[in-house]
């Protein structure tokens, strides 16, 4: 309370002080017959001086930050294409920083040098086709280089993966990722969002299609639908009382579930035993283990909203879009241990972050990524870090 009173008093005093100052200012302007638009040489020169001081401070702090943070920001790219990206980044930085320093320097130096001088007559210079041609052609040339180099790298990054690329699925949901490895056959089992369930009897968080999963899903839907019909019947017999809204919602929901059930029934005829084989060797994990120098092809899916799988250390990113499959490939080239040495940080870990706003806990959505050798990978599996998607295989 006292604090607020003091703040209030201070504000009032400041207001009074400002009012008095402005009156003094108005009076002196009037006495000296000074107009706001008049050029006060002294003030004009102060501003000109400020231009140079600003330039020095701006460049000074820029260079300081480049030195202090420029190299320490992200460690060296840990993927094959990432090395190309970093190289391209550096080329672009050279061009961009040259323009940045050059143009800003010219701007502020001109502002300083050509500050108002009553003795000088400005140079009437409305246009010069040659000059304008020069600064159309030079940027065009520089941009041509940037575009060509950029597209070459882009095509490399987005090109087809090699045949021995290991296929891994990344499944995103609010607010975590799940990795699904395609197993020995290097083929992912089919999946459908209608089969996704956390039902304790037969959980299927990724909606993997197997005959068994479809049957269990039908059982679950049947039991839910039956329960709802019972509720409706109970309401009609006046044994249960719902609000009008709840009652309507219940009826529309049961209709919806029946329609979804029909679609699931249709699935039964579309898939045969051969689809089960694809899924049989798939396994999931809550952290991503990658083998050094092995190319990976990631297939992204999302359960609810758009997420983005962002691997800053591998210079890789791709959105996970509900109802679509997006793809991303890269080859890790340094193991976690090697990277710990490079960064001089024994606690360093690779990371996969969500980089598309996806809800309140967006900033908590991530997954640990480990890069190791083949042996370490096998050990990681033995340690029980993975779960088979088809329970019967165990």
């Amino acid at each position: 309370m006292e604090m607020k009173l003091i703040v209030l008093v201070v504000i009032v005093l400041v207001a009074i002080a400002v009012a008095q100052l402005m009156r003094v200012y108005e009076l002196t302007s009037k006495i000296r017959n000074r107009r706001e638009e008049d050029i006060d040489l002294r003030v004009n020169n102060i501003n000109a001086m400020m231009m140079i001081l600003f330039l020095a401070a701006f460049f000074g702090s820029g260079v300081y930050m480049l030195y202090e943070y420029g190299n320490g920001m992200l460690p060296e790219a840990a993927s094959l294409h990432g090395q190309d990206v970093d190289w391209l980044f550096n080329i672009n930085w050279i061009i961009v920083l040259t323009v940045f320093f050059g143009t800003n320097a010219v701007l502020f130096i001109f502002a300083y040098k050509y500050a108002y001088d009553p003795k000088r007559k400005p140079y009437y210079f409305p246009h010069d086709n040659r000059l304008e041609m020069i600064w159309t052609v030079i940027p065009a040339g520089a941009l041509a280089v940037i575009i060509i180099l950029g597209l070459m790298t882009w095509n490399k990054i987005t090109g087809k993966p090699s045949d021995d690329a290991v296929i891994v699925e990344l499944y995103a949901e609010q607010f975590n990722f799940t990795a699904r490895y395609s197993g020995d056959d290097n083929k992912l089992g089919h999946a459908d969002y209608k089969l996704v369930t956390t039902w304790v009897e037969n959980p299927n968080p990724l909606g993997i299609i197997t005959k068994n999963n479809i049957e269990w899903r039908l059982k679950e839907l049947d039991s839910t639908i039956t329960a709802m019909h019972n509720d409706i019947a109970a309401e009609e017999a006046s044994q249960k009382i719902f609000s009008v809204a709840a009652s309507e919602k219940l009826r529309s929901k049961v209709e919806k579930l029946e329609r979804i059930r029909e679609r699931v029934v249709l699935m039964q005829s579309n898939y045969s035993d051969s689809t089960d084989v694809l899924a049989a060797d798939d396994f999931t994990a809550k952290e991503l283990f990658l083998i050094k120098d092995q190319e990976y092809q990631f297939i992204m899916r999302s359960r609810d909203v758009i997420h983005s799988a962002y691997f800053p250390h591998f210079r890789a990113q791709m959105n996970c879009v509900p109802g679509q499959r997006t793809k991303l490939k890269f080859t890790p080239i340094y193991t976690t241990a090697e990277m710990r040495e490079k960064t001089d940080n024994p606690e360093f870990n690779y990371i996969l972050l969500c980089n598309k706003i996806c809800g309140e806990s967006h900033s908590n959505m991530n997954m640990r990524v480990i890069v190791g050798t083949q042996d370490e990978y096998e050990k990681w599996i033995e340690e029980g870090n993975t779960t088979n998607v088809v329970a019967s295989v165990n």
Binding site: R35, E37, Y116, P126, I306, Q324
Partner: protein
């Protein structure tokens, strides 16, 4: 029409308080209404940004400021609620982009300057113009109202990507807050379209005698192209928004496909969230230039006037405005390089996007050449214009990095993007707006703003603005995603980076607070000068264009007598053979004088 008829026109109307100040159809009053509304909206948006900067600078620390503004619901114990953090970010972006830099900038200066600089009595349709303002007002009220509802404002980011923006179950703000957001934006677009159509018609049809298109001030060219961009792109936003409303309320599936929300499985199938992105960015990218071009137009005028030199390369400037306007329609895909869009298409967008750098470079170099061998008066308007050129260059070049799809993968949706668009579009546009206000204040209110306060305002704003956004580039390249509540995630993975993010975020937040406080100087100067500023003379800056031939006191119809006839372009500053260092456009060309 005879001169006498015009004289009558000026004194005919006996206006009541309501028709003069509230439901005015006079373009000068409507311009001022837009300006004051935009200033109010800007204050709100700045406060919102300070609130989330407090969280980012000092994450998880209890803050009295947060409890004061947000209360126990949204800042329990002075710690920002996660959902509200996203709400603040969303509404800050929306207000700044649409209400301040589109409505505020175009609305104020197109309305004020198009009739005055073209030599027209008023806009083509005063009534539409008035409706345009009042729709803007209603949409502003709706947007502000959404901050006060129980479930919080829209919080899916200002880009409101579905399905996050469709279902309340995915984020609280996608309930009533999002509905208000969509309604507000629909009304805003209607306002913008009425305004733009008016601007286009006025520029094309109501120029005074002798005012050829090639004698128009660059401000008018910029407003004209901006209005064309608005008319062509805003309707796409409406369709995009209406489809989203239908997805939300009627259960259609334009943007939803095979999703599970909460624990409920959705029937919607066959739509695509990516379709939304295409529609949104088809407006979204021209929008950047809708924001930027008016600022560049104002700057062209101010730089020439205060260097006492003609703008360099008048025709090249017009050409680059047109080129930027055209190209802005075929680059939207650069916002979507990593959405899974066909990589070949991505390549095409890389090419078109980088082409924009050419006309932009021409503009920047032409400004520099205008300064060269000039005689620069550092008025507050000129200072802000120089600031604009600097931020336009500094922000523009990081665009080259972002437009390069191979590099965009790495910095997409990080703070590097945030830094880029704040510098190139936010700072440039707001500097242009400040410059415009300082320069045309005498035309708006018949008084002068205090120039010393203006200078202090400029230097504090300029330095702290760079203080905010320059370090942000480094945070972004360091891999900090935007719209993160805090960066604690890095703590356990890469402590080096975490350290850098913590350090820089404190610096950014401190500068943000300084920048916000500096704006109090402007607010004081603005409102003080309206009432007590020095009474202006007719042509205080010794300008050439037509608005400086109107009387200081506003008259309905702008000129008490006949509309002046125009004989030359507006940039005859320091022309050899002339007595004064400026020549009004109304001065006939002398025998043997070359017309630039």
């Amino acid at each position: 029409m005879s001169a006498a008829a015009h004289t009558d026109h000026g004194h005919h109307h006996k206006e009541s308080f309501i028709t003069k100040y509230i439901f005015s159809q006079d373009h000068k009053m409507i311009g001022k209404q837009f300006l004051v509304t935009a200033i109010f909206m800007a204050c709100v948006a700045v406060i919102l940004s300070i609130l989330f900067r407090i969280q980012l600078g000092w994450p998880g620390e209890s803050s009295g400021v947060l409890s004061f503004f947000l209360g126990d619901t949204w800042a329990p114990n002075g710690i920002l609620h996660r959902g509200m953090y996203l709400g603040l970010v969303t509404i800050h972006g929306t207000i700044m982009v649409f209400f301040v830099l589109t409505g505020g900038l175009s609305g104020t200066f197109s309305n004020l300057l198009i009739p005055l600089q073209c030599g027209a009595r008023d806009m083509a349709s005063g009534l539409l113009n008035m409706i345009s303002y009042w729709l803007f007002f209603i949409s502003s009220v709706l947007m502000l109202y959404s901050l006060f509802i129980e479930t919080g404002p829209a919080s899916a980011g200002w880009t409101i990507y579905p399905p996050l923006s469709v279902y309340e179950e995915t984020i609280q703000g996608s309930g009533a807050g999002m509905t208000l957001w969509l309604l507000s934006m629909t009304i805003f677009v209607a306002s913008s379209l009425l305004g733009s159509l008016n601007y286009i018609v006025t520029v094309l049809n109501l120029r005074t005698k002798g005012m050829k298109m090639t004698r128009l001030p660059l401000t008018i060219w910029a407003f004209f192209v901006t209005a064309v961009l608005g008319v062509l792109s805003f309707p796409v936003l409406v369709s995009c928004v209406v489809l989203l409303l239908m997805d939300r309320t009627l259960g259609t599936s334009f943007y939803v496909n095979d999703a599970i929300v909460g624990s409920e499985i959705l029937e919607q199938s066959g739509g695509s969230p990516i379709l939304f992105e295409h529609l949104f960015w088809f407006l979204g990218h021209p929008e950047v230039y809708i924001v930027l071009l008016p600022a560049l137009g104002l700057t062209s005028e101010i730089v020439a006037n205060n260097s006492r030199k003609p703008i360099f390369g008048y025709r090249a400037m017009i050409g680059s405005i047109l080129a930027i306007g055209f190209l802005s329609f075929i680059v939207w895909g650069h916002h979507m390089f990593i959405t899974g869009m066909n990589p070949f298409l991505g390549g095409v967008f890389v090419f078109t996007t980088l082409l924009i750098a050419i006309p932009s470079a021409v503009k920047a170099f032409n400004y520099l050449t205008t300064l060269w061998k000039g005689n620069i008066r550092f008025t507050p308007a000129m200072l802000f214009s120089i600031g604009l050129v600097s931020s336009f260059v500094t922000g523009g070049i990081t665009g080259i990095i972002l437009a390069d799809s191979a590099l965009d993968i790495q910095v997409h949706d990080t703070y590097f993007v945030v830094a880029h668009f704040h510098v190139v579009m936010g700072l440039s546009a707001i500097f242009g707006m400040f410059a415009g206000v300082y320069h045309w204040f005498p035309k708006m209110y018949g008084r002068m703003m205090n120039s010393k306060l203006g200078m202090v305002h400029f230097w504090l704003t300029f330095i702290s603005a760079y203080g905010v956004f320059f370090p942000m580039h480094f945070v972004g390249i360091g891999g900090a995603p935007r719209r993160y509540y805090d960066y604690s995630v890095y703590e356990g993975f890469d402590s080096n980076q975490y350290g850098m993010m913590v350090d820089l975020n404190v610096i950014i937040s401190v500068f943000a607070v300084i920048a916000a406080i500096s704006q109090l100087i402007f607010l004081f100067n603005f409102f003080y000068s309206i009432r007590r500023g020095q009474v202006a003379t007719q042509n205080p800056w010794k300008g050439n264009s037509l608005e400086w031939t109107t009387p200081v006191e506003h008259v309905h119809g702008n000129w008490p007598g006949a509309i002046p006839e125009v004989h030359r372009w507006p940039y005859d500053y320091s022309k050899p053979g002339m007595e004064e260092d400026f020549v009004l456009q109304t001065v006939p060309v002398k025998d043997g004088e070359e017309e630039h």
